[in-house]
């Protein structure tokens, strides 16, 4: 902690980041505190970050913070032993680092894979340090504690796998098949999702619950559409039709511009990117492109509309038969009294007329 304080990072900021990260994977706030303590106190979790067919965007999204302190902060939470872009070392030194870390932290290190792995022609399309991506992946993950695939590229192939996929790019889970991989798709992935997963592993030794595509449920269970701040506009039928038109400027729903929010599982609508509020595609006026979904991103044209997947009709939708009842007790009482009075009067009159023998008109 003193180390961080020396760099001007308060405990409060530190806690904030940890809590946000915990929230990203659905752990309660107190877990964030625990993570902070663990991180601040002792051994930071060792992380080996592998890069394959990628643009480094996922790393960048981690670092592209408005406040440089947070970037420092993040890097202080983990011990980044190998990262081809960020590490100072290069060449043999870098590979030495990798081997050392693997040996030192055998069975405990976290591998984060960024980028797709080419499979065509024996995987020659991505080689570093004389090994193909396939070989590296197998080698490094063999003795890892946990493996994370960050970004769509590592999760399912991403943009390198877009048609015609000349390199045969696939996600890491297609290569590393002997152990579970946590996929964190997104292009780029939301850094808090990564952070939360890593810290959970470091603090508790567990990984978050995963869905059928190995994505953390609590970040990827819901579609953007369900939690989108522009949802009321969708519900009310207010849409932007062209970039820059009145509706667009008013912040209306971007569905008709091709927003893939209804079919994209992600939590960007809740956790914007890093710490800038509103810094996410829909927030700045561009429809969601579905970057986490293999069937959508880089396949369905940007401005083509999609069917709304599993729409949750809110309770404000009118039912088939609305309630138009108007009956109230007072008029019912009065009306019944009138009818009753008429019936009673008729009965009384009849009785009176019938009962009096003198009034009985004899037949003539």
């Amino acid at each position: 902690m003193t180390e961080l304080e020396a760099r001007g990072v308060s405990r409060r900021d530190f806690l904030k980041v940890c809590t946000l990260a915990a929230g990203a994977v659905g752990l309660p706030a107190w877990a964030g505190e625990m993570m902070a303590d663990k991180a601040a106190s002792s051994a930071k979790p060792p992380v080996i970050w592998l890069h394959f067919q990628e643009c480094t965007g996922c790393s960048e999204s981690l670092l592209r913070a408005s406040a440089p302190d947070v970037a420092e902060l993040i890097l202080s939470l983990i011990s980044l032993d190998y990262h081809e872009t960020l590490m100072a070392a290069a060449g043999y030194q870098a590979e030495r680092s990798l081997a050392d870390s693997m040996e030192r932290n055998d069975g405990k290190y976290l591998v984060i894979i960024e980028g797709a792995i080419p499979t065509k022609d024996g995987g020659v399309y991505c080689r570093a340090a004389g090994r193909t991506a396939i070989e590296t992946a197998h080698k490094v993950t063999a003795r890892a504690g946990a493996v994370l695939a960050i970004g769509s590229c590592a999760s399912w192939g991403g943009i390198p796998s877009a048609d015609p996929n000349p390199t045969g790019a696939v996600g890491a889970s297609k290569i590393v098949t002997d152990r579970p991989i946590v996929n964190l798709p997104g292009c780029p992935a939301n850094p808090y999702n990564l952070l939360g997963t890593v810290l959970q592993y470091a603090t508790f030794g567990t990984l978050p619950a995963l869905d059928e595509l190995s994505r953390p449920k609590l970040a990827y269970a819901r579609v953007i559409h369900e939690d989108c701040p522009r949802r009321p506009h969708f519900d009310a039928g207010r849409f932007a039709h062209k970039y820059g038109d009145e509706g667009h400027r008013a912040g209306y729903c971007l569905y008709k511009l091709g927003c893939k929010g209804p079919v994209t599982h992600a939590n960007c609508s809740l956790n914007h990117f890093v710490d800038v509020p509103g810094a996410w595609p829909i927030g700045i006026g561009h429809p969601c492109v579905g970057c986490t979904e293999q069937k959508i991103a880089f396949r369905v044209p940007l401005h083509q509309t999609v069917d709304v997947d599993r729409p949750t009709a809110p309770s404000t939708y009118p039912p088939i038969h609305a309630d138009h009842r108007v009956v109230e007790p007072l008029p019912v009482g009065i009306g019944s009294a009138i009818v009753g009075a008429l019936a009673g009067a008729g009965y009384m009159a009849t009785k009176k007329l019938t009962g009096n023998p003198k009034k009985h008109d004899p037949e003539e």
Binding site: H321, A322, D323, H324, R325, V326, V327, E328, L330, P331, V332, I334, G335, I338, A343, A345, G346, Y347, A349, T350, K351, K352, L353, T354, G355, N356, K359, H360, D361, P362, E363, E364
Partner: protein, 402 residues
């Protein structure tokens, strides 16, 4: 057997206490009507898009005109079937009919949303001949005029008895001319109600999906026609009995019993037709539920007075005949209200009960009707009064109205 005497004006104070009460009730309803015209139909009533006619059409129009169909029924018996002994009943029945129909027409104007456009009804090129309501509207408006024309002899008779020579001549001349035209007027007075009373039932034909099958049938026009005759006869007996008690109007028990026997056959015909209708494929709608109960209550309401009318005890008893006639009127009224409201279901989610404003207008209209009846009976020779030993009519002071 009492031969029919001449009708005479009852005379007496025009604004006696009962009249004042009735007019006060009407004044209140006038206030409600003023509110309706200034604020719209919604604020005053519980009418909604589902139950759009409220009670003003089913009760003020359909039930009131059913009661006023005594003019039609008595006219049929007296003129078409040439039973002249009913002649003494004609004027009171026609007056009641004229008033009831006028109330119905007035209620329609209050109930219409865009009443100011009703002048278009006078432009035949705009008529949509496929509409049963158009037929009702034209027929009813014409019939109201015919009924008041039928009352003209009574008004002219008084004018003829005026001390002024000029009015006397006027009255006699026009009275004579009217007498000559009577066959044509009476023919109209029988044709028109046949048409529109059956059409009042025909109005509901189009709402097949919304009316319970035990009530919705191609026989609706026939049933309503028979029912109106029954109601009319019953109403005439009730009316004459009340008039007997208040003003000692001539009350021929045998005649009324004979008329009620006709009523009995009409009621039995109604029951037979309705049972026949449901046995032809609708039996499975009958079950242990409220709707079926309502159906059987209606049948009982029809059958009970029918059987009573045929019984000797009732035929001889003024009170029992009165009670049975009340039942006959109630039966007709209940049938009409049921068909229009109780078993009408536009869709799930709608229900209806008249608001206080609507009930006020209905009651106020009824009060006005009674008041006008009293007024005209006092001023013009409408009713035949029984003579006492002194040869003068015994007018009762207690003109207590119901």
């Amino acid at each position: 057997m009492i031969g029919y005497g001449e009708p005479q004006a009852i005379g007496g104070k025009l604004l006696a206490r009962p009249m004042k009460t009735l007019l006060a009730i009407f004044a209140v309803s006038l206030g409600v009507m003023w509110y309706r015209f200034s604020a719209g139909l919604g604020p005053v009533s519980n009418m909604t898009d589902g139950f759009t006619w409220g009670i003003w059409e089913p009760v003020n129009v359909v039930v009131f005109t059913g009661i006023g169909a005594g003019a039609y029924g008595v006219g049929l018996l007296c003129y078409l079937l040439n039973k002249g002994r009913y002649h003494g009943l004609v004027r009171p029945a026609v007056l009641a009919g004229a008033i009831c129909y006028s109330l119905g027409a007035a209620s329609i104007v209050v109930a219409l949303g865009r009443y100011w456009n009703s002048y278009w009804l006078g432009v035949p090129t705009l008529w949509n001949l496929s509409s049963a309501l158009l037929e009702v509207a034209i027929c009813v408006l014409t019939y109201v005029m015919v009924l008041w024309v039928e009352m003209l002899p009574s008004f002219l008779a008084r004018i003829s008895a005026s001390p002024s020579a000029r009015w006397k001549t006027f009255g006699k001349k026009w009275g004579g001319r009217l007498q000559q035209a009577m066959p044509y007027i009476i023919a109209l007075a029988i044709l028109l109600p046949t048409m529109h009373q059956s059409s009042l039932g025909g109005l509901l034909l189009i709402a097949g999906p919304k009316i319970h099958p035990l009530w919705h049938t191609a026989l609706l026009p026939t049933l309503f026609l028979i029912s109106c005759l029954s109601m009319g006869f019953g109403a005439v007996v009730v009316l004459i009995t009340i008039l007997k008690l208040t003003w000692n109007v001539e009350h021929d028990q045998r005649l009324l019993a004979e008329m009620s026997r006709v009523n009995a056959y009409l009621l039995i015909a109604l029951v037979v037709l309705r049972i026949g209708d449901i046995t032809a494929g609708k039996l499975w709608y009958v079950g242990w539920d409220l709707i079926s109960l309502l159906f059987f209550v209606e049948l009982a309401l029809f059958l009970t007075p029918a059987l009573l009318f045929l019984s000797h005890r009732v035929k001889r008893s003024r009170g029992r005949l009165f009670g049975a006639s009340l039942l006959a009127v109630a039966a007709g009224a209940v049938y009409r209200v049921d068909a229009y409201l109780s078993v009408y279901r536009p869709a799930p989610g709608w229900n209806y009960w008249p608001s206080i404003g609507e009930m006020t207008v209905t009651v106020g209209m009824a009060a006005l009707g009674i008041a006008v009846f009293i007024l005209i009976s006092r001023m013009f020779p409408v009713l035949v009064v029984e003579e006492t030993a002194t040869g003068r009519p015994r007018a009762s002071e207690s003109a207590a109205s119901r």
